[in-house]
Symmetry: none
Amino acid sequence: RSFGRIMRPDDANIAGNVHGGTILKMIEEAGAIISTRHCNSQAGEPCVAALARVERTDFLSPMCIGEVANVSAEITYTSRHSVEVQVNVMSENILTGAKRVTNKATLWYVPLSLKNVNKVLEVPPIQYARKEQEDEGKKRYEEQKLDRLETKQRNGDVILPVINPEPHTVGYSQSSLIHLVGPSDCTLLGFVHGGVTMKLMDEVAGIVAARHCKTNIVTASVDAINFHEKIKKGCVITVSGRMTFTSNKSMEIEVFVDADPFVDEPRERYRAVSAFFTYVSLSKEGKPLPVPQLLTETEDEKRRFEEGKGRYLQTKAKRQAQMQQSAQ
Amino acid sequence: RSFGRIMRPDDANIAGNVHGGTILKMIEEAGAIISTRHCNSQAGEPCVAALARVERTDFLSPMCIGEVANVSAEITYTSRHSVEVQVNVMSENILTGAKRVTNKATLWYVPLSLKNVNKVLEVPPIQYARKEQEDEGKKRYEEQKLDRLETKQRNGDVILPVINPEPHTVGYSQSSLIHLVGPSDCTLLGFVHGGVTMKLMDEVAGIVAARHCKTNIVTASVDAINFHEKIKKGCVITVSGRMTFTSNKSMEIEVFVDADPFVDEPRERYRAVSAFFTYVSLSKEGKPLPVPQLLTETEDEKRRFEEGKGRYLQTKAKRQAQMQQSAQ
Amino acid sequence: RSFGRIMRPDDANIAGNVHGGTILKMIEEAGAIISTRHCNSQAGEPCVAALARVERTDFLSPMCIGEVANVSAEITYTSRHSVEVQVNVMSENILTGAKRVTNKATLWYVPLSLKNVNKVLEVPPIQYARKEQEDEGKKRYEEQKLDRLETKQRNGDVILPVINPEPHTVGYSQSSLIHLVGPSDCTLLGFVHGGVTMKLMDEVAGIVAARHCKTNIVTASVDAINFHEKIKKGCVITVSGRMTFTSNKSMEIEVFVDADPFVDEPRERYRAVSAFFTYVSLSKEGKPLPVPQLLTETEDEKRRFEEGKGRYLQTKAKRQAQMQQSAQ
């Protein structure tokens, strides 16, 4: 099934390019609806599907104000306690009829009981047209499970403030915002929609990128994001971002989300999510521009730069392998 | 009583014309305030006025970004269990001082008990300046009651997807969107505001119209809409639209709203509202443009086209009769 | 002229109290409409009235979700280049009919040419019912002019980050957010509405207050705010707040707004606005609660605490003088 909505001025930057975060939020909403519906399709305890993970997502082509975003979602695998959803986004210029695929995203949801949010329920199995589909789904399931475990460790880092930073250093562009979680940010369970969190993350990452290169920037991709911790209504979220790596024509920004319950809760501030966003800088004609190189100063910054380079080269190699494969 | 606000970019399409749905939402909010206030004006059970019906509404003149929309509402008739509200909208260019009437709408509200949403309360009667006002109001009340009953039957139709449709066919422009009902969409009773529903309906109808004629389009009128079924917080709404008829310079689009409780409710998906929207295509100078003819293929499409033609000719005849009357 | 709208969940905190920032935004919109209309009432260059100053505003009583906010605005004085607008806000419970005055605000606007934003136009004079009204208005005009000049100096201060702060210190609760200015934030001139800025300022101040006392907090008052510098569409705004003073039952928070043009602009980041917000902490029954004392550490913090105490005592003395006057 496919659904559309017109992109409005507030969905986009001043160059008219729709924010990656707006698209991620639409993707997540479609995924949440289809997986919640599926998980409630058999008699049993009512539940709400909560976002557990989004796989790496590429933004294949910028979307513009006035275009219609068509979002279609399909369940592609179910494990005992999780649902894999494939969401495709197509942008359509309704004046010319031109259509482009802009995103293909894969999301994992977990059904949580409406009565007891800490209880994970069982997922009704889906039927596969062919046995291989189930096997491939199982493989994807195992892979993401491993990755989820790994990132659980990595989450301790903090962005420290820098006084009077020089242009093009990490401290110069690092940014953070706070957001008071309101009712419209939340699911029926009273926890923040994954899509709302991703939209805020993209907002901060975009500001970091723009501060660094001072040109029109757009989201090129988002690495896999794991949602380990829920964020409750009434929390204050702090979203912080810092640049970790630049190639000739791209910037990688690490984003952290911290939740602070702060009212009526004994709990301390905690890390809820973290992720890497990649941005490119575009000329007025939509061509990628060269990006100023990131100046690293501390040992940690140099290490993170090298790690970012590793991710960059790995992605590049993967893409080339795929292109060769499809050329054969 | 009068309410006003400045029209912002998000209220309008890319040509700067305010969406008909934005205006319908403002109209309904004014109507809900004045009728809720009236129904609670005597000691008794507290209640919230719920929208039951909007009479056919014409959009007399397009409104633009930066103009102030002034909305004034007045109660014009009360039956035992319903309130008729007349809402007028005037657009004002605060730079030139120019004012234009853009809408005259008539809405019917029913007071529902705040403690038991299924209980309809009694409406305090209003005073009429002249006896004829009461008689005319009673006549309007009886007429709309009949029409409400009729539409209750019609609601069973469904929009099926079409693969690879040809331009200007029904399948080519048909569209749908989904919306997860959030807290700010709802009244104190926890049910969707009629105005929120109408705004979504206009959004889909506008996409259908633009896909068909690929030019700047604006809402010209909305046929009477009956709200037979409430939609609760937490539901998913699917709004679908298809073109039913084209004249030389107008397009008629039928819109369906289906609600899916899908969590915590034994209830199946159900049809909540349906309505006909009429759009025109405008040139850059604001002049109406010719519209490509709708290509009907199936028997059903041909039948709906003829029915749409009937509504079109009826409205045209009524308008001519009114013009002759006022010319005498 | 009067404007109204229903307060929604998104307008309020989780205790159901409408944010002071929501109310300030409505007040400013009403003021902008009425003063823009007045300044264009005579033939001449079209202009947009830009907010120059808001006088100290008290929040007399909390507003709640579901209530209707009625905003009425009136022009009370005009100088050659500025307009004074008095805006009153009344909250109305449409279920019980109960009404309370919640705010009385005074705003100053300046007409800027639509063709050249740096050109201040002349204001058509208003007629006064009595000569004293004009004299009193002139006195208010001279007073605010002086105060505007003074604050222009004060604006250089910066909030520095603190590592691992102790609870109840200044560093512990200080907070900041960034916001990318979108089209719906702006007037026809392409500059941020004063009301949008004030809403963001109240959001940060509220988070500072809640972090300090960890209870439900509401805006009690805002000191006079001067808008010395415009903020253009496409800027990134950084809004930062720190606590400056606590009395037994109130907290004073200083808020700074910095604008960073950062794309296509040679201009450096600059201070656009600063202001003092006062908050109180409320129990579930709506009674004011004692507030933990602010722990000051540096000389600057101690100085700011004393200055805050001065403002607090001055306001208290003024209020007592008014009460004695009205008791006579």
